[in-house]
């Protein structure tokens, strides 16, 4: 299982270390290339160094608030899609602004499969915007009842094609 070969590179930004760690572990098992940032600062420096397709950002972070982090990493990587995570569903203006920037938002605790589907959808969305050639493959991945093994095989195929591009 090689994260390097995953077609989807994901950044998880959440200060809840247990959540970030185990979420990353499960997503990696499904073939995603996952990087963890436990603070806003870590998230920004990761975005400067590495290219991501999708980022999951918790709205509440110890240093910066989630909205600022979203804005910062979006300015570094404009095509990055963001999934917003929140433990709280309040509707203040900041939340509203974040919701507009984000691809989608999820309330904690979420269903893992729902999150996974959303990551795929976000990646697909990004792909479509950029005219990605693997769109069909990604769609198949999204549609298919994806067992981790299929997923890995599929993603390796995608990866190869991507590199040939």
């Amino acid at each position: 299982m090689t994260e390097e070969n995953s077609p989807i590179r994901l950044l998880i930004v959440d200060d809840e270390e247990d959540l970030a760690t185990f979420l990353a572990h499960r997503l990696r098992k499904r073939g995603l290339d996952v990087t963890i940032a436990l603070s806003g600062a870590e998230a920004i420096s990761a975005a400067t160094e590495l290219k991501f397709h999708v980022a999951i950002v918790d709205l509440k972070l110890p240093d910066l608030d989630g909205i600022t982090v979203m804005e910062e990493i979006k300015s570094i990587q404009p095509f990055l899609e963001i999934l917003m995570l929140t433990g709280h569903g309040s509707h203040d203006s900041a939340w509203e602004a974040g919701r507009l920037q984000a691809f989608r938002y999820l309330l904690k605790p979420f269903a893992f499969d729902e999150l996974y589907d959303l990551i795929l959808a976000a990646a697909h969305h990004r792909c479509k915007k950029m005219g990605c050639e693997f769109e069909d493959r990604l769609e198949a991945l999204m549609a298919g009842a994806t067992s981790p093994r299929d997923l890995i095989e599929e993603s390796e195929k995608l990866r190869r094609e991507y590199e040939q591009e």
Partner: protein, 636 residues
Amino acid sequence: MNTSRNSIRTLLVGSGRELSDLLASLSTRSRFLELDLIGVVDLTTENEAEVRELAREMGILLVVSDLSDLPEDIHPQLAILTSAEASEYENLVRILPEGVPVLGPDTAGILKGMIRLVEENRALRSDSRRLKETRLRLNVFVETAPLAIYVKDTNLRYKKMNRHSLRLMGLNEESVLGKTDHALFPAGRVRWLQKVEQETLLTGKTLHATGILPVRGLEMHVQVTLFPIIENKKTEGLYGLVEDTTELFVSEQKLHEVDEQLNETQKYLREVLENSRDMIFLTDPEGNILSFNSGAEKVLGYKREDVVGLPAHSLCALPSSFAKLFEKSLLDGHATRYEAEFMNKSGQPVICNISLTKIDGPDGLPLEVVCLCRDITTRLRLKNNLIRSERLAAVGQMASGVAHEINNPLAVIDTIAGLVEETIADEGASLEPATRDILTKAMGRLHYQVKRCTSITHSLLGFVRNTSTGLVKIDLEALLDECLNVLGIEIRRSQTEIIRMFSTNLPEFTSDPMLLQQVFVNLIKNALDAIEEVPDRSGVVEITTNTDRNRISVTIQDNGVGIPKNDQEKIFDLFHTTKPAGKGTGLGLSIVHDILYRLGGNIRLISEPGLWSRFIVELPLEPPETPLPDPTSMNL
């Protein structure tokens, strides 16, 4: 004292100053009047010394102070009474031999005596001796009566004016005799009297007249009785009896004024009482309703005629409690209670601030009790709602904070459970099948329990997550149908009959459709849950819409398990649930209440435990301009 044989044996009865005045007056005239004064009865002996002195001078030997002290053999032919007491007159008449006239000073006595004497005078014309006697008596009467009496001839010239009238008019005899009224009174002022006098002369009848005499520059109200003097079938003149009724007139006038003022005051009071919005009724000391104002009619819905005569406590939810308060008002004069419960005509409780005041009658005994009651039901409900909302706000704020904090660990637990589950599925081949099964099942339960927690935390956060989609005109029927749609599966599964009773003439109203939908889904869901708890009953949920002036009401009634009386008050409280353990979160109705509060509406519950529940939602036509603060909003 020289007395002729023909003199009339006369008894003087009287008291005080009047008696001594009469004696003094008779001492110079009794001979002229041919009176033989045989005795004096001094009833009060107030100025006994003077009376006795006068009597002694006049040669009257018999002076007593009680009628019963009179010797039986004195045989009076005439009695003159100065006392104005009617009872004295009666006593005197009783004690004297029959036929002895009594000349009394009070009007009734004088008139009786006068009429009798005038009639005797006419009847006994043939009997010259007795005629003379009667005339003498008449003369005596005219002279001694404490009443103004005058005699006029047919030309209405004064032939006589007795001492009382001279005193009354402030005149002396010489200036009056032979004169007419023209010479005595300002022109035209006594025409009313002359007219009646002429009529008396013409008709020969006894006539009465009332009018004003100008006396010494003042206006004297008088009542005059006129007797014709008929001699040999020819009218020779008339007697006039003048009664000064000024005092009577003035007091009558005053009485009239006071009466009018009293009427005005009473009218005013009646209007105040009658038109007051407060419930005011009067009861007798037994507590039976005597009157019932229009405020009371409005508050309780009864008509006045429905309740007058009924005991007031029959209008109360707790009759004995009212009776106790009533007793206290009779004892202390006043009694109040801040919250007393009445029942209106349709059986709904009406909470009143009640004040009872006893009113005593002139005899000092309780006459009436005034019951003043102010309907504070609405105010109390608002107050309770406010208290509840504030409590909800505090609890809600804390709860949503806690919920937020719990969501993070829940996410971790759920993620790890999923990881374990996946690992068992992928790599658990080496495990014993039984172990593998139980672990898989355990992870499933872990997911389930996380979900339970999530439903609580998400509902809690629901206070704030209920997105306000903005205010629009509401199509209530469509909105309720949409709610029924959302619950379609549950409704079909429970085989509940839904009865829609939607009013067709609701006014247009504005509200937030998303929030309203949440309210009604919650309430209908509750109705279904309540029905589910009575498995052998075929469920019916009745949804009624209606309008009352400027409010819209939606009533949702189910024939489910009902809500115990103890729970009815707390049903809208946060975390209060009547559902079986593990079923309800105790959040739904709090959220409903909260949403309605924000929309300017309210919700009420009526329930018969075991039989039915009815939730009544009321909404304004327009929500409050500045939305009420969200009691649970908090910063992220």
